[in-house]
Structure formats: C-alpha cells, structure tokens
C-alpha cells in the first residue's frame, strides 16, 4: 500500500464543551477518492476542518503526505473547497480575483507571474467559467459560484483535493460540470476527500465511503449502493435538512 496522503488516528475534537469527534481513524491513499458521509451533526465537516487546521484537536494525530499537520507547510499540494457560504465578502470581487487567491500558495511573496495567471485561466477553463472571468461573483448563480470555488482550489494544481459538500445547492447542469472536472482530476492521479450528503452524480468516481455517526466511524468500505427512488437517474435531494432521519439502513 502506498503512503497515505491523509491519515487521521484517534482524532478527537470538541466544539465548545461538546465532543464532536470521538476518536476517528481515516486514511486516504494516493489516487483514492474517499467520500465522507453521514447525517447532519455527525461530524463530517468538523473532521474536514480538523484536517485543514481550522478546528483544534483535543487528542489524536493527523498527517498530511506523511508529515504531522503541525509541521506541514507544503500547502500548494492541497486544494480546499469550503462549504459554500451564501455570504460573500463585503466588497465586490471578480471571478479572476477570487480564483487568483488559490494560486498564492505557489506565488512567492504574493506576486503573480505570467505562469500563475496562466494557471488561474486554466483552472477557470476546467470548470467552464473562463467566459465569466471578469464578472463579479455576486452576479453568479449558486452552481456557478461553487464552480468558482473549485477553480480556486485547482489553481495551485494540487495533488489532493479536500471538499466540503461541493454539490450542495448546485443546479444539475453545474453538478455535471463538477463531476466531469473532478473525473479529469482523478484520472490524472489526484487524491480526493470529500464530504457528501449523498453520492449523487459523483457515485462512479468514489472508491471508498466512510460513514460517520455521532462523531464515530460507523462504516469504512465500498460506497453504499443507492436503492429505491434514490437510484433513479436524475434523482435530486430535496427533503428539508432540519428533520432529516438518520438513514443508516441505507448507508451501512
């Protein structure tokens, strides 16, 4: 087995005084696509946020590319797509300006050279947003906005993509673009860890699914097959999230 790109061992994390992760083991190997599944509040997003260092650990250890996260500095190898927030910054910004932020990890002293600008343009082409490069992000739809955030993650040409619910609130046309983009990245050997609410159009790409429940790993293995009406082509997930039943029967 090759060296893992992400390794979590016995990771615990608290939000306030509430334990959210209660000892998680999770490994992503090179070239692997791993989906992190689970109901709301199961700790999926917190797990992702411990990996990037936004949420502190209370116990356990995390390694990125074999280096303890505290000492890891080669962030250009990691592309991150946060959970999409509807609130943009308080000042208008163009698509190019946002995606250029993703190139800072490769730019020395924050100076973007010609090659960097070229990489930004390529990233925008990958998600099919090159024609909107000069538009304000405020003018985009939810799906287009998500494509911009993915282009921002791709701008550093990462070996590992970490994505938090990339398909949430994304229209079907954009979902297809995103699935295709991701497929191309995976074909080139990019490793992916992504939080998903359900497998959806990404299902064929996923090698392994890790299901969390109440901050513990409940399932780690082949992705659960969709059954019933969830398996119908074009099935869209529209039930309200607040009262969502824990669909463990389906996922385990």
């Amino acid at each position: 087995m090759t060296e893992p790109v992400i390794a979590l061992r016995g990771v615990r994390a608290d939000l306030g005084s509430r334990p959210v992760l209660r000892g998680i083991d999770l490994t992503v190997h090179r070239g692997e696509v791993v989906a992190l599944l689970g109901a709301n509040g199961s700790g999926k997003s917190t797990a992702i946020r411990t990996i990037i260092g936004q949420v502190p650990l209370s116990a356990g250890e995390i390694e990125l590319f074999g280096t303890p996260r505290g000492r890891f500095g080669d962030w250009a190898r990691v592309g991150y797509v946060p959970q999409r927030t509807t609130a943009a910054g308080g000042v208008p910004a163009t698509v190019t300006e946002i995606v250029s932020s993703g190139r800072l990890s490769r730019a020395r002293f924050g100076v973007l050279r010609k090659a960097d600008k070229e990489a930004v343009r390529r990233a925008l082409e990958l998600v099919g947003m090159a024609d909107r490069a000069k538009d304000s992000v405020d003018a985009l739809s939810g799906g287009q906005h998500q494509r911009v955030l993915i282009a921002r993650a791709l701008a550093s040409e990462p070996e590992l993509l970490i994505m938090d619910e990339p398909m949430a609130g994304v229209d079907l046309a954009s979902q297809e673009v995103l699935a295709r983009t991701l497929g191309e990245q995976v074909a080139q050997g990019t490793s992916v860890l992504l939080v998903l609410h359900e497998l959806g159009p990404l299902e064929p790409l996923i090698d392994r699914a890790v299901v969390l429940r109440d901050g513990c790993v409940q399932h780690d293995g082949p992705p659960p097959r969709a059954v019933g009406q969830h398996a119908l082509p074009g099935h869209d997930h529209v039930h309200p999230h607040d009262h969502e039943p824990i669909r463990t029967g389906l996922l385990s």
Partner: protein, 300 residues
C-alpha cells in the same frame, strides 16, 4: 488659491491627502471582513493615548498610535479567544478607552476637555510640523502594507478558512490588518478627528462599490473619492470657517448619495448588455419548466 500661501494650510492639505489615501485603503479590508465599525472602536481607544500624551507631556500623536495599536491587537485577540462574549469585551474596551482619555486629560496640568476637542473632531490650524512628520511616516507604513500585501490581505479578508489552506500566516495577517487600521486612525486623527475617522474608512468604499465589479476597481475608486473629499473638505473649511472633519464626512456621504443615484441606470445598462451578449436570450415571459430539475434553481 491664496490658501496655499499659509504654511498651516500646506501642512493641513498634505495631511488631508494622506488621510484620503490611507483611510479607504485600510477601510476596504475592514469592510470586506464585515468589521466596518472597527475603526470607530480604535478611535475610542486612541482617546486614552491622547490623554496620556498630555499627561506625560509626550507627543499625543505618537502616544495615540501606541495605545491604539495595543487596543487593536487586544481586539483581535478577543476575536480569536472570546468567541461567546466578544461583543461585551469590545464594548468595555471602547468605553474604557474613551473614559481613560477624558480622565487623563483632566489630570494633566492645565488640561481640560477643550484640549480633546481638536482631536475628537479634527482641526486644521493645530496641525504642527512634528504632526506632519509623524503623519507622513505612518501613512507610508499604511500604504506599504495595504498595497504591498493586497493579495494576501484580500485572500484572508475574503475567506479566512481557505487562506489558511493556502499556507498564508492568517493570524499574523489579521494582526497586521488591525495594527494598520490603528495606525490609520492616528494618521486621520488631526484632520478628521477620532470620532469621525471611521466614516472615511467605510463610506468611500461603500460609495465605490456602487460603480465597481472588482476589488481592484473598488480600491482605486475609494481612494480617489477619499482624496477628493479630504481636499475639498479642507479647502471648504478654510473659506467657510467650518470644522474640517464634519465637512469631509458630509462630503463623503454626499458622494455616496450621488454615486448611488448614478449606479442604478448603470446597472440596468450592464444587465441589458449582458443579456444581449448571451447566445440564447432569456425568454421575456416566464414559462413553466419541462421538469423541476431543468430550471436549475431548485437547490438542496
């Protein structure tokens, strides 16, 4: 142009231009982070510095710089660690700062609240040569940070979580933003006054946004507005004998109103141009989509 013959007016105008550049240059990052009122808070804390300057017979400008930098760092630390009751801690810092200023200035020999007025609302005739030197040095620092690190500050202010994953020193950049804002407050203190400085950080940015679609354009327009209103306000203040700070702030708000009025037809024209550029124009009337998925706007 006879006002240029007076040395005090030359100093005042130089200070005004520097304020017009620096206040919106820092303010844009504060607005982007949705901390538009941070400048106001720092202004309150800086009052303690002015008071201490009088009490210890130090330069009030440098003392205010020191105290407001400390205050800004403290505010940033409260933001990190005191998540739950951060607003209360900030309120105590603000009003403690103001009360400290009034207390110290009254303890100073021969000091009274009257000394404070020129710092609170700005004054042209009292800008001294040493003030101008201090303002130039501080403004140079602010311009260096806000322009030199614009990409880093943009990334951190836009999306802190993402900035962390690009390997940027997020905490250091946040602290630097706070320190730069504090320095700007003291740059602006002599001309616009501590209680009005925040307006010059926020309103030009808000006005520029009416016209711009990009961060770079917003930055440039906001600084242009800042310089225009500070020069306009300073000259008006000379001829009409009205307080400069109030004149500048009212002019800035006037610019906001005018630009907002201009923006509406501009936005309409842009929307029409964008619609015309699309290969398949949007239908003029609503139609029921063939299937729910097809309309693409139904989100999860």
């Amino acid at each position: 142009m006879d006002f240029l013959d007076y040395a005090f007016m030359q100093r005042a105008l130089l200070a005004a231009v520097l304020v017009g550049i620096t206040a919106p240059a820092v303010g844009i990052y504060l607005v982007q982070r949705r901390q538009a009122l941070m400048g106001d808070g720092i202004g309150h804390v800086a009052m303690t510095g002015v008071g201490l300057g009088f009490l210890l017979s130090w330069s009030p400008v440098w003392m205010a710089t020191l105290i407001s930098v400390l205050g800004a760092v403290l505010m940033e630390l409260i933001r990190w660690y005191g998540r739950t009751r951060g607003d209360i801690a900030l309120a105590m810092l603000f009003y403690g700062g103001m009360a400290g200023g009034v207390m110290f200035i009254n303890l100073a020999p021969g000091g009274s609240n009257a000394n404070l007025t020129s710092y609170l609302f700005g004054s042209l005739s009292t800008v001294s040569q040493s003030d101008v030197t201090a303002i130039c040095l501080l403004a140079a620092f602010v311009v260096l940070v806000t322009l030199g690190l614009r990409r880093q500050l943009f990334a951190v202010s836009q999306d802190e979580e993402f900035a962390r994953v690009t390997g940027l020193p997020v905490r250091a950049l946040n602290l630097l933003t706070a320190v730069t804002a504090a320095v700007t407050v003291t740059v602006a203190m002599r001309v616009v006054g501590l209680l009005l400085v925040s307006a010059l950080m926020v309103v030009p940015v808000a006005a520029a946004q009416q016209l711009s679609r990009s961060f770079a354009a917003t930055f440039a327009i906001a600084v242009a507005i800042g310089v225009t209103v500070t020069i306009g306000g300073t000259v008006t203040s000379y001829y009409q004998d009205v307080p400069p700070g109030a004149t500048i702030v009212l002019l800035t708000i006037g610019a906001f109103v005018v630009l907002t009025g201009l923006a509406t037809p501009l936005a309409r024209r842009r929307a029409r141009a964008a619609a015309a550029a699309r290969p398949v124009p949007d239908p003029a009337e609503c139609a029921i989509p063939a299937s729910r998925e097809a309309d693409g706007t139904v989100g999860v």
